[in-house]
């Protein structure tokens, strides 16, 4: 009896010092001054988020990676890049492991509790995509009761209630929602008819439909305004200002529009400089 008890206590004691730093991370994010002093900044990008960031022939490419090249020239310090899956990315920024999440992270209320966002880098209004030739879906109200695919932990999942409200207006309801670790699997399941539609941002869906026009077809908008941006740890104000300055410069010299045109097939000239999310 006593041996069991003491073992459990010892277990807790051992785990405690490991757990504590996880909750006291706010202090560990490097400020711009600290970055300048140590001479480098670490940015984290994703590896399977076409057209923003993906890997082609072993080399990172996409909208954010091209901007990163410009950022390297702009920054008075070295910029190191870590390419990691989405799962640990935002956590890595809020714990100070990486200084910037240089990825299209949609600005949400929930995320703003632990992160600060730069100026939006694109439009992320949510659209649905369906199988090409699926005549059972022609408008939003046809989505009622149908199975929806979406990425787990994504901003898109958080805004499905908006679609639910739209459906309820016509007496419909949101069907079963299937969550995936990343979008490529969701698209695959859409093609395999395991889900009836997938919700993602307009840019990602357009890229998909351009690549596979015989398999997928773009639907309509299922959300209000939504924007993706880069993220830094909460209250890392100088670093945020530095990144916003870079974005403003890229917008002013036309490079931003040029890259948007290249990767998204359209430019978004009316992006706000700051965005306060409702959701």
């Amino acid at each position: 009896m006593t041996s069991r008890f003491s073992r459990r206590r010892a277990l807790g004691l051992l785990a405690a010092p490991l757990a504590v730093p996880l909750f006291s991370h706010a202090a560990s994010a490097a400020t711009l001054e600290e970055i300048k002093k140590r001479g480098y900044m670490i940015v984290a990008t994703e590896d399977d988020f076409r057209p923003f960031e993906f890997v082609k022939d072993g080399k990172p490419t996409g909208f954010d990676n091209e901007l990163l090249e410009d950022l390297r020239k702009f920054a008075p310090f070295q910029v190191k890049q870590e390419i990691i899956p989405w799962t640990g990315l935002l956590a890595g920024v809020s714990t100070g492991k990486y200084d910037v999440a240089l990825t299209a992270a949609i600005i949400t209320k929930e995320r703003k509790k632990s992160l600060d966002f730069t100026s939006p880098i694109a439009d992320a209004t949510h659209y649905y995509v369906k199988r090409k030739g699926d005549t059972s879906i022609t408008s939003i109200k046809d989505l009622s009761g149908k199975t929806c695919g979406v990425q787990a932990g994504s901003a898109l999942l958080g805004r499905l209630p908006e679609l639910e409200t739209m459906l309820k207006k016509d007496g419909g309801k949101l069907g079963k929602v299937v969550e995936y670790t990343s979008y490529p699997e969701a698209y695959q399941d859409l093609a395999l008819k395991r889900v009836d539609y997938v919700v993602n941002t307009i840019i990602n869906i357009k890229a998909l439909v351009t690549e596979k026009p015989t398999v997928f077809e773009i639907g309509q908008a299922v959300s209000g305004k939504s924007y993706p941006a880069w993220a830094v740890a909460k209250d890392n104000k100088e670093l945020l200002a530095f990144l916003n300055e870079f974005i403003a410069k890229e917008k002013a010299n036309g490079r931003f529009a040029e890259l948007q045109k290249k990767w998204f097939n359209e430019s978004f000239p009316d992006l706000p400089v700051t965005f306060e999310p409702e959701f």
């Binding site: 073992r7 010892a10 277990l11 051992l14 785990a15 010092p17 490991l18 730093p21 996880l22 006291s24 991370h25 560990s28 590896d47 399977d48 988020f49 076409r50 993906f54 890997v55 082609k56 022939d57 072993g58 080399k59 870590e82 390419i83 990691i84 899956p85 799962t87 640990g88 956590a91 890595g92 714990t95 100070g96 492991k97 990343s182 979008y183 490529p184 699997e185 698209y187 695959q188 998909l208 690549e211 596979k212």
Partner: protein, 214 residues
């Protein structure tokens, strides 16, 4: 499949094999050491080892890895993705190896040790000449089993940015929007790796059998 994709798969295969080999080479002797400490009923340390094994067997590898990767820098230990991956792998597998070695040690006939003692063999010599050859043979199938499991959990290491065979496949699938072909290639790559490991086991077992017959 472009030459770039093939290069990505080749690099992924090197990473998978390198991480697995590192995990096995560290986890095997550490597991044996831990088992010996428990077998020898070393005061205090024996209890700590039992605790270590309990914690690690209860912790999913991916959780352990994220904890090491994000928590260690907070306590002043900078760690890169590959070191964190090897550390997590070896910690995890050492706990399971410890129990495999310990099972063989518990089943080891005590009278052999007593016989060795009676002819004046030292503890070290007894272990090297009498215990180790027999427990190694008894543990081999279970150890190889654990090793093959270790190779197949390496894809979870991708969560901190390690690019193994499976992550290489995911990346290619995300670029082409065609996930199936790269996954088939990935499976085709794991098979020979596991086959190589099992062949090594067969070779060792056959050599033992031959030595015994001689």
């Amino acid at each position: 499949m472009t030459p770039g994709d093939i290069a990505a798969f080749a690099q992924g295969a090197v990473v998978t094999v390198a991480l697995s080999v590192a995990g096995i080479l560290i986890g095997l002797p550490v597991g044996l050491g831990l088992a010996l400490i428990r077998w020898g009923k070393v005061p205090v340390i024996g209890r700590l080892v039992a605790l270590y094994v309990s914690i690690l067997r209860a912790t999913p590898l991916v959780t352990l890895l994220l904890l090491l990767f994000f928590a260690l820098p907070n306590v002043g230990v900078p760690i890169d993705p590959y070191s964190a991956a090897i550390l997590a792998l070896s910690m995890n597998t050492s706990a399971f190896n410890c129990e495999i070695w310990r099972a063989a040690l518990l089943a080891f006939p005590k009278d052999q040790l007593e016989a060795a003692m009676s002819v004046g063999m030292s503890a070290g010599l007894r272990f090297r000449r009498i215990v180790l050859p027999q427990i190694a043979r008894a543990s081999l199938p279970a150890l190889v089993n654990e090793m093959s499991l270790l190779i197949k959990v390496t894809p979870v290491l991708a969560v901190v940015g390690v690019v193994d065979i499976t992550r290489a496949a995911v990346r290619i699938g995300a670029e082409t929007y065609e996930p199936l072909p790269p996954f088939l290639v990935a499976i085709a790559l794991y098979a020979p790796i596991i086959f190589g490991l099992v062949s090594l086991q067969r070779f060792i077992e056959r050599r033992h059998a031959a030595a015994e017959a001689a």
